[in-house]
């Protein structure tokens, strides 16, 4: 584990993917997002009918694609953000207890930007489909003083990738007697 930076304390995480399912280097990535009543914003969306907000599906898709970019370019950018989304269509609702499977196919991955076609499904039914354009940045490119922020972000990303790609089963707690 990396040492915690100052100002780092447990906080709400804006992480919309839970597990890596498939990865074809530079080409395709599939991740899973479990939806749970523990996600507090569901109480507002909607009261009596909790469903994953469409923009959270979009964020999950952006994060899925961004992980393929990181894996392909060797964690070279502190910030990978959405530049443009096109043709985003929503289908089936996604409810707590369900898992949204996000598949991102890379159309192109260049040093500074990438294009993807994404699809999110639940039991094979389409919940979201879209085309995404991402941009990849380092803060030091506009302000050299921010190089340390870039480093901190990259360290956090590497650590998170380890969590997302854990494939071993959880350790057992010893035989029941």
């Amino acid at each position: 584990m990396t040492g915690s930076a100052p100002l780092s304390r447990p906080t709400v995480k804006f992480i919309l993917v839970d597990q890596l399912l498939e990865l074809e280097p530079a080409k395709r990535i599939v991740m899973a997002k479990n939806v749970s009543m523990a996600e507090e914003y569901l109480a507002d969306h909607f009261p009596g009918f909790p469903v994953l907000p469409g923009v959270m599906m979009l964020e999950a898709a952006v994060q899925t694609a961004a992980w393929l970019v990181r894996n392909t370019l060797g964690f070279a950018h502190a910030l990978i953000v959405l530049k443009e989304a096109r043709g985003v269509r929503y289908g089936t609702f996604v409810a707590p207890g369900q898992t949204l499977i996000l598949a991102a196919d890379a159309v192109a991955i260049a040093a500074g930007r990438s294009d993807f076609k994404i699809k999110g499904t639940v039991h094979g039914q389409t919940a979201i489909q879209a085309r995404l354009e991402l941009v990849h940045l380092n803060l030091a490119d506009s302000d050299p003083h921010l190089a340390s922020v870039d480093q901190r972000s990259l360290a956090a990303q590497r650590e998170r990738w380890q969590t997302l790609t854990l494939r071993t089963a959880a350790p057992t707690l010893g035989a029941a007697s």
Binding site: R86, G87, R89, Y90, G91, Q129, R131
Partner: protein, 127 residues
């Protein structure tokens, strides 16, 4: 001055590339809106809105899609024989052989090709 079919095709193509986020060369006359260009139900509404704006025409509510609330025409998600006949009269430019075999209401969208949309706009413009 009346528009030619080619002129209408160019404008319909613009609407479809925007609404369906597809490339220009994918929008061929034979392309099916759903199976080839990936159109969903909301896209049909988008296309209707944009066609109205682009051509200055009015597309009334049940002109392109049948009224699913009318038991004469639709029962249990399937078109009645009367419904199929009504569809054929209203939309002679659609290839409805698939619908005649399986009158599932949700399959009507699959009958729309780019060319059928162009023909539809032509009839609206000459009305």
């Amino acid at each position: 001055m009346a528009m030619t079919k080619d002129e209408v095709f160019v404008k319909v193509k613009e609407v479809l590339t925007t609404a369906l986020a597809v490339d220009d060369d994918e929008v061929t006359p034979d392309a099916h809106l759903t199976t080839d260009l990936g159109a969903e139900s909301i896209d049909f509404l988008d296309i209707i809105f944009q066609l109205e704006k682009s051509f200055g025409i009015k597309i009334p509510k049940n002109e392109l899609m049948p009224d699913t609330n009318s038991p004469d025409l639709v029962q249990n998600g399937k078109l009645t024989p009367k419904g199929v006949a009504e569809l054929k009269t209203r939309m002679p430019f659609l290839d409805l052989t698939g619908i005649e075999a399986d009158p599932d209401v949700t399959k009507i969208k699959d009958a729309f090709t780019v060319d059928s949309l162009v023909n539809y706009v032509m009839t609206k413009l000459s009305a």
